[in-house]
Symmetry: C2
Subunit: 291 residues, 2 copies
């Protein structure tokens, strides 16, 4: 069913995600902080039913679903409850679907605030990176109201391969944090293994091929192992973004009394990589500080 939707934030993730919504036949009104980027997106999608708005509020008017993918908690607050935020403008019954990786706390806050205004907020961070956004194969972890989730899912499947409700508001963000914690450990282990093997002079591509048949196997080993051996670090998700995400994990862990000793150290290691000039290198660049 064709819907009136809005998309706030047309970055490397939001741009293609909004594009898939347009291609699925929805009327898509987009907003981006830098307006020229929204206009460029509009030009690229001129054959579909698309429009550009001047503010989150004006994008949200009459939209049944408002999707967002912005930078962080601060940006999210601005596009939702800020002076020209979407919440005030959304029609009653509308659903705000936030794909930003943000704190669980802001998800719970915005969930409560939305409910008091007769709308619904879903925290829905994604994994799958830029390639997942481009190829419409994102995995989306959702927190929030079941009925709103059920209504949103058919629309969001335009850019997702899985769109799964984990629990109430905040649970989507918590699931994404678990994801990032597991990713960080796998990458650091892989980085130490590869750096060790290269220093020892063994054929690491061959070794990765052998050991990825067993208990050492991981997505990171299969996809980033060979590129780490080749000293290539331009595969999407960047160090700066990872540090932001790990910061969220560490804050949340502190609040909950959870222990993340290795995650905390890996966060520091990513700091080393930033100091090496690797802010935009992909996350597998942890190996650079071991060479």
């Amino acid at each position: 069913m064709k819907q009136k939707v809005a998309f706030l934030g047309l970055g490397v993730m939001g741009g293609p995600m909004a594009g898939h919504l347009a291609k699925a036949g929805h009327h898509v009104t987009v907003y981006n902080r830098t307006r020229s980027k929204a206009e460029q997106w509009q030009t690229q999608h001129a054959q579909w039913d698309v429009a550009v708005a001047d503010s989150p509020a004006s994008a949200a008017q009459q939209a049944e679903f408002i999707f967002a993918c912005v930078g962080n908690d601060h940006d999210l607050r601005e596009v939702t409850v800020g002076p020209s935020g979407a919440f005030h403008a959304m029609p009653k019954g509308g659903v705000f679907v936030d794909h930003t990786t943000a704190s669980a706390e802001i998800a719970r806050e915005l969930g409560v605030q939305a409910q008091s205004m007769g709308i619904t907020f879903l925290d829905a961070p994604v994994s799958g990176g830029q390639a997942g956004a481009v190829n419409a194969t994102l995995t989306v972890m959702v927190g929030g109201d079941q009925a709103a989730f059920d209504r949103t899912k058919p629309v969001a499947m335009a850019f997702s391969k899985a769109f799964t409700r984990v629990g109430d508001n905040g649970c989507g963000q918590l699931a994404k944090m678990v994801n990032q914690i597991c990713v960080a450990g796998a990458i650091q282990g892989l980085a130490e293994g590869i750096a060790f093997g290269m220093r020892a002079g063994i054929d690491m591509k061959l070794v990765l091929e052998i050991i990825s048949k067993g208990a050492a196997q991981s997505w990171q080993m299969e996809h980033r192992g060979p590129t780490m051996v080749d000293d290539k670090f331009d595969f999407g998700f960047a160090v700066d973004w990872m540090r932001k995400d790990l910061g969220l994990c560490l804050d949340e862990a502190k609040q909950r009394g959870a222990l993340l000793p290795i995650t905390a150290l890996i966060d520091q290691f990513y700091g080393d990589v930033q100091r090496m000039g690797g802010q935009r290198w992909d996350t597998s660049s942890l190996i650079k500080r071991l060479r």
Copy 2:
């Protein structure tokens, strides 16, 4: 082709491995430090062509291939070049295939010594655990002479799903070390992620199912994630053995000037688990110290 082979060390790995050699039709002479264990193995394999020897030397007489799977460098030295070791007794041209996870240094030493005696030594540590030994699905990483490797492979395939030469003597052990380093990082990341998620109160089995479709996926997540959530730690490879292996990695890294900051810390964490009484828990028990 039916061969005369020997197998030294009938532990949880060696026992089933020797069994597969017998079932493949080879004449298998076994030796075990505790003789009663060898006799028990003989009884269990009475329908095949098997024998028990009193020493590595007597097991090795006339054997074209001598396989070993013992505890550590010291045990390996004893069964090869010790007073009743196999090297002295092996026929010229014989191949000693060592499946022990040991140091790369001893592999190189024994390689040189074997060569001077007209025999060949292959370091051939395995991965796949007890289940891999029982089901003949071990992955074997081999260091040593190419021609001896080629002759050994058809025999060793009785218990392997892959038997791959990585390089010269020592390279098999180095590859196994890379494997253990990667495993350690993946498990610790997974442990932190799961402990964090459980403390935050989200449904971790559901979350693991969702995130194992993407960049956080690993063998450890798929196989040990759900059992970690269930607080079950009786799945083979034990903490004591992992500490031995990580010790080998850390020694080797020091010699090579390689950095293993997280591996070193995880080794310490396994020390915590040992102090909790977890010597025989499986390696996923790292999560116990985070709960």
